[in-house]
């Protein structure tokens, strides 16, 4: 039990989970779950309490018990206890100050991240403003290697996302050519299938693989079907460079997704043995605030803390990409543009603080209060904060999943406005194709008919 007297009012909090939930910035999903602060001043009281809680208290009180939850077990089993003990007596406020200090170097942050549980990282983020989150995120640049290297300074990658409402192979191919002609596709060429059957998924894998081979494109292919479908396709000889799965921050929500540690271990080993890519990073995870609450599997924990726990779980399998899609679900979890922007900044920081190669998909659906302007603001801010990659969707309109994401045009714009280059291997390919020169699109760019 914690209490805080603020402006002559006393506020009580039952537990660390309660403090974390009430210290969160306003989000509709936490409200729906009935765990958010009842007023702005109560939110501030929770932040004050949180700033003085010791990391040791958080360590000793995981928001979901170790015995009850696989996510908690992975986070605790992977923790470096030597490093944890060095900082166990810090308060959350001191952790925030340490992260932001000029004296703290990138290597220091990578080191302490190995001794932080996900709840500690979530707690620090709750004491941060937008600029805090951007400054902190800029300091941490996790890299990973599949066929290309992602996350190096000065570079920004994109997933070419050429979906088609009924997986028409020529339709997928055309959108893929369009994306490549804008310089999008160095992170991955990743198709969301409408048909989740092994045959259909295998067909798209072969098609994308063959195209990549024919045009000698330094990248990786991926079809974002359920992991069990991809594993079956792989066992039947389909060429997979990167294997995908959506993850959440509680065991209950992961069971809803039909995924477990055992399954991910199997996928990890299968990819090392049969995947087409160099590696060592061969998995691709998608995450985002709100999935646990929409599945009614949140166990009374706030969306942001559960998102941090998702990263604690994800880092176990050393992914090549972690893509955050907060904003994809709808207004019941993230209400409007303001909440999306905040969630994107929090998630980018928390993911990086876990040592993960993070990308952001600033997205909106048509039943929430957000529009293109909000999305572009979120894109610019997270690019400034050093996101590794974004999605590339033709015209920003995903005709299969029915939502809006960053377009091939946005991708090219983000690179140009911040002076960022494609991934090293891919940039050389773009230059050879005559699509890019000195980091800028040429006149030839944007013409899908150059791929004959």
């Amino acid at each position: 039990m914690y209490t805080c007297t603020l402006k002559n009012q006393t506020y009580q909090f039952r537990s660390i989970a309660d403090v974390l939930a009430k210290a969160s910035e306003e989000k509709s999903g936490d409200k729906m779950a009935g765990i958010s602060a009842g007023s702005s001043i109560e939110r501030m009281a929770a932040k004050v309490v949180l700033s003085e809680i010791k990391l040791k208290e958080i360590y000793e009180n995981p928001v979901i018990p170790y015995e009850k939850d696989e996510v908690t077990r992975i986070i605790y089993d992977d923790l470096n206890l030597f490093i944890y003990k060095e900082i166990a007596n810090w308060s959350v406020g001191e952790l925030r100050d340490y992260i932001l200090s000029h004296q703290t170097r990138t290597s220091d942050l990578f080191r302490i991240s190995k001794g932080l549980t996900s709840e500690m990282i979530s707690a620090a983020a709750k004491l941060m403003s937008s600029i805090d989150l951007v400054m902190a995120s800029q300091k941490i640049r996790p890299t990973a290697h599949c066929n290309t290297t992602i996350g190096e300074a000065g570079r920004l990658a994109f997933r070419c996302q050429p979906n088609h409402p009924i997986d028409h192979p020529d339709g997928i191919l055309a959108s893929m050519k369009e994306g490549l002609s804008y310089g999008s596709g160095d992170a991955v060429i990743g198709v969301n299938p409408n048909n989740d059957s092994v045959e259909s998924v295998s067909r798209i894998l072969h098609m994308t693989h063959d195209f990549i081979q024919k045009w000698e494109i330094p990248t990786q292919n991926c079809v974002l079907a359920h992991i069990t479908t991809q594993m079956q396709a792989l066992k039947k000889g389909a060429p997979i460079a990167l294997m995908f799965q959506s993850l959440a921050g509680t065991q209950a929500a992961n069971e809803d997704f039909g995924v477990s540690k055992e399954m991910l271990d199997e996928a990890f080993q299968l990819m090392a043995k049969h995947g087409t890519s160099t590696g060592p990073n061969q998995l691709y995870f998608e995450t985002g605030q709100g999935s646990e609450v929409s599945l009614d599997a949140h166990l009374g924990i706030d969306m942001q803390t559960l998102e941090a726990r998702t990263y604690g779980y994800a880092r176990h399998w050393k992914p090549f990409m972690v893509n955050n899609v907060s904003g994809f679900i709808g207004p019941e979890t993230i209400y409007d543009g303001k909440q999306v922007i905040r969630a994107d900044l929090e998630d980018l920081f928390m993911g990086k603080m876990h040592g993960l190669p993070m990308g952001i998909a600033p997205t909106y659906t048509n039943h929430m209060q957000a529009d293109q302007n909000d999305q572009e603001i979120a894109g610019m801010l997270t690019a400034l904060a050093g996101a590794n990659f974004y999605m590339g969707v033709p015209g920003g309109d995903d005709v299969m999943l029915s939502y809006q994401d960053t377009s091939y045009h946005d991708d090219a714009s983000l690179r140009e406005m911040l002076g960022l280059r494609p991934l090293r291997e891919f940039e050389i390919w773009l230059e050879n194709m005559g699509i890019m020169e000195n980091g800028r699109l040429t006149e030839r760019a944007g013409d899908l008919s150059i791929f004959k």
Binding site: H164, G258, N366, P394, Y403, S407, E443, L448
Partner: protein, 289 residues
Amino acid sequence: MDIQTIVKQVMEELQKEGQIKSGDKPANDAVHTKESSVRTIIYEKVKQSGVDLPADLQEIEKVQAITPARIGIGRTGTRMKTRNYLDFRIDHAAAQDAVFKDVSEKLLNELKLPVLHSKAETMDQYLMDLDSGRKLHDSSRQWAEENLPKNKEVQIIVSDGLSSTGVEANIRDLLPALVQGLQSKSISLGEPVFIKRSRVWIQDDLASIVNCDCVISLIGERPGLATAKSISAYLIYQPNEDTVEADRTVISNIHEGGVPPVEAGAHLADLIEDILKHKASGVKLSQLK
């Protein structure tokens, strides 16, 4: 010669031929009457290549015809051209509006669907409180208990979901095709119902009342930009309190530009036959197959 010069020359030619009227020129060129200051714009979306000097224009037009994706639109700098930007914003505006429309009484009467209600009293409650759309309202529950046929193999639910436009556009073709498909396989069917402001999980609630083996929800999908008229089908075998999302089989993008509704009806009937045969749905079903 650059593209702007070409355009300028063409415009001059057209003006000479009198194809562009003076009303299209800047207003300060002419003394204008009251009528000439009224400009009527009929805006229609046209699918055409926006790529300046493409390597193969025919190729671009060919692929534009096989996908609703916004490809071959070209660029100005790194940005979209004005026309494409406006198209995008117009489609978003239309999609936002589609969420808040109701399915018409006329359609429901025509299909003779009994109308049940979820616990969501208002659209706002429906959007913000998931639980309210996942459970039947007490009066609807009672009606279902008293009136719906029990112990059939299949129960069909039609839900407005997030696009009543989707239901309006597809259900006339989809529902009869599905019913016919099931009948031809001699699969027993309860009475299809419409549940207003309902979400997918309401199928678990109704299944427990009618005690069916497989329940299928035909639900309006959240509207996209390319189409606000899409329906998804969610199928589950014997849902219970241990049911998880991965147990549901989903067929999405049922609409004229995706899986056409008549075709989808036949396909869904085959799928239901499969589910009943394997006594499983979702990830479990695909692992058994």
